[in-house]
Amino acid sequence: MAPLQRRALFGLLFGVVWIAAMMAVFLSKGGAQSFDQDADFRLLIDGLWIGGLLVYLALFATITRQRARFDERDKLIMDRSARAQWLAALFSLVAWIIGLSEFYRSEGQIPIVFLYIIFIFVLAIGSMAQSAGILIGYWRMNRDG
């Protein structure tokens, strides 16, 4: 397994655990209403997603430092994975917009907490999609050339 491939697999697994942990904390602490009223709750969520993001970024930053372990083939796959990242972010945003608009249409407003949630979610999904895109890229290149 190539170093980038290994890091993408780790990144994908980390992303799944990261999102699951954040959802578990969010729901166990009382969800959207508590998030609005409790500053400590907001700080906890902020810490979780910023911390998780930094760990994720550190994973990919370590690859580029070692030139011999990140070659042109890896770069090609990584460039192609950006498309998966973009598509995942786009579809996530569309789903959120439609879902929230329909759910809160009768109230005429959407709780501000969803600004947080959408941003974190799209960021996490985009990162995981990049990892998935890298893994799929290696699989396709190994299969087809």
Partner: protein, 52 residues
Amino acid sequence: MTQQRLADRAGCTRQTIIAVEQGKYVPSLELAFRIAKALGVPVEEVFQYEDP
């Protein structure tokens, strides 16, 4: 020469060398020259172009 040693000399990963050997990846001109140099032979001895 092992694949890893060739990869180290050519400045790429072992997986790339494997992919090149299996014909599943076409290296750039730069990498092709580096591989040939690592093997100590002219690039034409390592890579040949075949009409599709």
